[in-house]
Symmetry: C2
Subunit: 215 residues, 2 copies
Amino acid sequence: MSKVRAHAFTVSLDGYGAGPNQSVSDPLGVGGQQLHAWAVKTRTFQRVLFNSDSGETGVDDDFTARSFENIGAYILGRNMFGPIRGPWPDDTWKGWWGDDPPYHCDVFVLTHHARNSVTMAGGTTFHFVTDGIESALERAKVAANERDVRIGGGVATIRDYLKARLIDEMHVAVAPILLGSGENLWAGLDVDALGYACTHYTSTPLAAHYILTRS
Amino acid sequence: MSKVRAHAFTVSLDGYGAGPNQSVSDPLGVGGQQLHAWAVKTRTFQRVLFNSDSGETGVDDDFTARSFENIGAYILGRNMFGPIRGPWPDDTWKGWWGDDPPYHCDVFVLTHHARNSVTMAGGTTFHFVTDGIESALERAKVAANERDVRIGGGVATIRDYLKARLIDEMHVAVAPILLGSGENLWAGLDVDALGYACTHYTSTPLAAHYILTRS
């Protein structure tokens, strides 16, 4: 059966999935880019994001590769799609990822402001969903055509889907840094009461990796 | 120079250092005892807490051993000393640890309610400090006589000393469990702004270990 998954969702030791003050130059907020050191150096990340043959294999790479396997559609929060807030001024902004984004399938962007779908190179189409997370998930499941739906983030979007118990499985990576402020994954979220347990743990020199599974 | 240290302070993946509803049967709150699986199985813990020769060596044991090295005095929050709240009904409660507690030096217990010091077997004396964390630290430093002062916990006490930037070095262990509620170490605490950074990270199959150092 099609699953709803979150992967490679990285937080600091103190739980922040993004630093404060997101901008075009700081897509993950101030300090946020340090979070992903474990993923950036992997072979999979280098291949998918930069079309490069460099990068390392091993546990970090295994988790990165798994994050792309059998995914038929993505859901992103609007802040993960871009730094623009409020109504779309025009159709210029098409994501952080250039002309050929690393999704290669339908991507549903949660927003309060309607916008026409945007078809990119490489099979990625961005759709803008204004009627909530359940609607986005229904559309994503249809688009995924039996494959899984990945909730890509950011923090607020992951939290909304966890609160609704709509995520089946989630891979959380903890980077050995402190951010101190920004967007916290755990704050006020009783993941235990929501039925989530940590069912797997392993670690590498750059991150501790956890799998959360919903009962 | 004498340092102020915190050690083997264990939180769940979601940041809780104790579960909810502390009681005589649940000194660490409901679910809290799972936090310390990594420490309980170490040779040092078995020797210090149970006077037993069993237990394992390795990285977890090294961290446990370090937590007792060169400590001349302890500071504990009242909830770590016992489950009683409000005024002391009498002098019956003398901690969770039996007649010979594992401290073997002066232990300063933060409380709003005065009480006479209690001398235990093995060199431990519990003193009750009613005039705040700075006063407790001054007294502990004198008692430690050039050795270090360890802030033993619990969560609220660690947070108070972090907020006051009075902890020089802190070892945080993360257990691969979710508690969902209870006492959160990180909530609303901007450790980055307070000058703390994560300066060391290593991990074992039972815990991820981090050292925080104040700049």
